[in-house]
């Protein structure tokens, strides 16, 4: 007997998401993903000075802060056809890399961990055994028995206060929490440790970005922080980076592996079919087609790692058949036409504020798993080394990557690869300073009417901003196709499920009132709903037409 279960709000994400599933025989048979808020940033952008766009669009999300500013500035650079100087390129890569570290590690501990970790069970742990466990997995300070006992005491006092705060009504004691008490206590201690450490990653971004959240130093043609490009600031950045590398290597990755070892069957749950990435961390300046990226872009269809394809942005379309917009055929972002309708929730009809992005008409997963798979498929040595080590350690086959477990592991793998590479970018900056290079902004001229495209991979996946400015150098149109729209968007005209919907099919659910299994997979996509929803014009009902020049 099929039973419909609605989970709204989905917590421990960014934004407002509603997930509905049909459960039969203890497994998910069908699923619908619905974004519940929209704000209309692209309408707001119309008519404005294009240079204001990065600051407005950055407010798409404060968890994935910086990323929209980066995509936007790349679109502006493209519209005016400027090549940014090397120092500016390095600064943007360093700030963007720091955002990956902050976003990914915070996601695991603060947003995802409680799906795998039973906090209440940590109260029963033996601090000595916890210490042994931690020290076997990694080499990190504050890992002695008294350290874990101190955490346990704090937790005990907290629970005994009777005010359980964010742990109230959690699914503690759920039959599918599998970690022993010591692993739970260790995870809680590491969660608290990361809460204090993430403050320092934010400082890294502030060094060259001005502040975090919401940096303020990217401009068309480069960056403004020339006065911070000095040995003192680079050393400050580097030494924070070293602390983060130590945490990633000795705490984050070991914790992911420890959790994974108890949940190995999750290597067969939560997988999708197609994967897409734009590429990341340009190593030279130029139009998107000319950039050599440290992390490569591409598309993989049907899990076929042996046949990764080059990505062609012209093949991206967005559909609105099952979204709260008037129907149009699938359209490329430069040609978007959008007319709103009142949001009436109907799983047989329209049910989300998200549109449905498609590549060659197919839904694609974006994010760390896509980024890692595509890099692996293209023979990226550094990615390959870490992936192979993880698979070997867990004694699981490569096919296990196509899953919730794989997605979660990919997030950690990508964090390590990026953090380690950032050290060499700091060195690159130093070498430039030694040569007397201080150029951070390249000259550019207002082009009049122009199109610009800013594509880049960000922590949640492939992010694209498209700008069309008019002959008066004002924004005529602006479109954002955002990672969470790819991942959490609805069905299309052909009825193809969006990636998260597909991934939920077959998920076992022991207790529909405590759907922790569903949360494990939904959270593995690291949803950011504020990001993903865009354009409607309920006021003027205006039709937007993008001219292709």
């Amino acid at each position: 007997m099929a039973k419909r279960v609605t989970i709204d709000p989905i917590t421990r994400i960014e934004g407002h998401l509603r997930i509905e599933v049909e459960i039969e025989g203890g497994k998910v048979k069908n699923a619908w993903s619905s974004a519940q808020l929209f704000r209309g940033l692209e309408i707001i952008l119309r008519g404005r000075d294009p240079r204001d766009a990065p600051w407005i669009t950055q407010r798409a999300c404060g968890v994935c802060t910086e990323v929209h500013a980066l995509a936007s500035i790349r679109a502006l650079d493209d519209a005016v056809k400027v090549r940014i100087p090397p120092l500016a390129r390095i600064v943007r890569n360093l700030v963007h890399g720091a955002q990956f570290i902050h976003d990914h590690v915070t996601h695991f501990y603060v947003l995802h961990a409680l799906d795998w970790v039973d906090v209440v069970s940590a109260l029963k742990a033996d601090p000595k055994k916890t210490s042994s466990l931690a020290n076997a997995l990694g080499n990190y300070p504050k890992s002695g028995p008294s350290d874990f006992k101190a955490v346990q005491d704090r937790l005990k006092a907290f629970v005994e206060s009777g005010q359980l705060g964010p742990f109230t009504n959690g699914y503690w004691g759920h039959p599918d929490y599998r970690l022993p008490p010591e692993a739970n206590l260790m995870a809680v201690a590491h969660y608290i440790e990361w809460l204090r450490l993430q403050v320092k990653v934010a400082r890294m971004m502030a060094i060259f970005g001005g502040k975090n959240p919401h940096i303020q130093s990217y401009v068309t043609g480069g960056v403004t922080c020339v006065a911070d490009l000095n040995p003192r600031r680079l050393a400050e950045f580097l030494y924070y980076l070293k602390e983060m590398q130590s945490f990633i290597d000795n705490v984050y990755i070991p914790d992911v592996l420890a959790v994974a070892s108890f949940y190995k069957d999750w290597g067969k749950i939560g997988g999708t079919t197609n994967f897409l990435a734009y590429g990341n961390f340009p190593q030279n300046s130029g139009a998107y087609k000319e950039e050599k990226m440290f992390m490569p872009g591409g598309v993989i269809f049907n899990r076929n790692i042996g046949a990764v394809q080059d990505l062609n942005p012209d093949k991206i379309t967005e559909e609105v058949t099952r979204s709260w917009y008037e129907d149009t055929p699938p359209l490329h972002p430069f040609k978007g036409v959008t007319k709103p309708i009142t949001p009436k929730y109907d799983t047989e009809g329209k049910y989300s504020f998200f549109k449905a992005p498609r590549y060659e008409g197919k839904p694609c997963e974006v994010g760390p798993l896509a980024q890692v798979l595509i890099a692996y498929a293209r023979g990226h040595k550094k990615v390959k080394r870490v992936v192979d080590a993880v698979l070997k350690h867990l004694e699981i086959p490569a096919t296990a990557l196509f899953s919730t477990l794989g997605r979660t592991a990919a997030r950690a793998i990508e964090s390590k690869v990026i953090a380690d590479e950032m050290v060499s970018w700091v060195s690159e900056a130093v070498e430039r300073l030694k040569k007397g290079d201080t150029k951070t902004v390249a000259e550019w001229k207002w082009p009049g009417e122009a199109l610009g495209m800013g594509l880049i991979d960000v922590p949640r996946g492939a992010l694209g901003h498209w700008i069309h400015q008019d002959k008066n150098n004002k924004i005529a149109n602006y479109q954002m196709v955002v990672p969470s729209t790819w991942n959490l968007g609805p069905r299309d005209a052909k009825g193809q499920l969006g990636p998260v919907e597909e991934s939920l099919i077959g998920t076992p659910v022991a207790d529909p009132k405590r759907p922790v299994e569903i949360l494990r997979t939904v959270h593995s996509f690291d949803p950011c709903i504020a990001c993903g929803v865009h354009v409607i014009d309920p006021v003027t009902n205006e039709v937007y037409k993008f001219k292709v020049l």
Binding site: D8, P9, R39, L41, G62, L195
Partner: protein
């Protein structure tokens, strides 16, 4: 932690009632408890005015409850909040406050989360601090923003009506923010305007965590909320202009201006007035306290201020690169 004896009557009265309720909840007789408190106070050689404080200390102290609601927002203010270093965010959540509802960090989802909000409002009715992040969409009855099937407007009206005080964090909750920028497609409003409730406004996009935490700590230590300006913003943070305390003010006075980003003036940290800086019209303390534990701030990173703590700055400060 205690309130001074000479705190406002309202606070003292609330405290008295709260203590006696807790006493009863523990199965003690009110009259006996008052007698006991009186005796203990005199034994300790304290003045009779200290009786309520002693009573309070004898009852297991409950942490003040915070309900944090997210509306039309980007979660940047929550992110800013966890950058706190004194106290650390784990200390705020585990030892100092009772964060009874916060969607970004709470364990349960769906029905269990809705239950948590409902229970928290019920149990702490009249006594919780409501923190709001994000604006309220109001067009078409507010259907453009929903949580658990209810509009944000409905949730905000309910939650503000039972709160001890409503604190808006971020320009969105205070004044409408980015979604309210022209043409405001969803008729987004600040929480105060949408609900008719008077709110304490900690504006900024996002606000400096120092100012968020300082406001809460002001209440905890002094038993009352700080003095506010005409926009409901605490004067201790928003009483002066960025320009008043800018380290580049000397360059402004000497007419040493950056003309192009990255030029020789930029390398010397010259004034960004000609690059569009809105510091002369923006009330905030960024130039004094900086961001991220003194690491930097926008002007320090060579970029003009965009006036993010001012109402309607998305329209009034724009274009951001045109000088005042």
């Amino acid at each position: 932690m205690g309130h001074e004896a000479a705190t406002g009557r309202e606070v003292q009265g609330m405290e008295h009632r709260e203590i006696l309720e807790q006493v009863e909840a523990k199965g003690l007789n009110r009259r006996d408890f008052i007698k006991l408190s009186t005796m203990v106070t005199s034994v300790l050689g304290l003045a009779p005015s200290m009786i309520p404080k002693v009573a309070e200390a004898m009852v297991a102290k409950k942490r003040p409850t915070v309900i944090w609601l997210h509306f039309a927002e980007c979660t940047g203010c929550s992110e800013a909040f966890i950058r706190s270093t004194y106290p650390w965010i784990d200390e705020l959540v585990l030892e100092i406050l009772n964060v009874a509802y916060h969607e970004t960090i709470m364990a349960p989802s769906g029905e269990a989360a809705e239950k948590t909000l409902h229970e928290a409002i019920k149990e702490y009715k009249g006594r919780y601090l409501l923190v709001c992040e994000g604006a309220i969409p109001t067009k078409d009855g507010g259907v453009y923003g929903r949580i658990g099937g209810r509009t944000m407007l409905e949730i905000a009206k309910e939650a503000t009506s039972h709160a001890l005080a409503t604190i808006c964090v971020g320009t969105c909750a205070c004044f409408g923010g980015v979604q309210a920028a022209a043409p405001n497609p969803t008729k987004a409003k600040g929480v105060g305007e949408a609900t008719g409730v008077k709110t304490i406004n900690i504006s900024g996009c996002p606000p400096n965590v120092i100012n968020m935490v300082a406001t809460v700590v002001h209440y905890l230590l002094l038993g009352k909320l700080p003095k506010l300006d005409d926009n409901g913003r605490p004067l201790f943070a928003y009483g002066q202009l960025i320009h008043d305390n800018c380290p580049r003010r000397g360059h402004y006075e000497a007419q040493e201006f950056v003309k192009k980003f990255g030029d020789e003036g930029a390398k010397k940290g010259w004034c960004l007035y000609e690059m569009g800086c809105k510091g002369p019209e923006t009330y905030n303390n960024c130039s004094l306290v900086l961001f991220n534990d003194g690491t930097n701030w926008p002007i320090g990173a060579g970029h003009p201020c965009i006036g993010c703590s001012e109402p309607d700055f998305w329209d009034n400060s724009a274009p951001f690169y045109e000088p005042l």
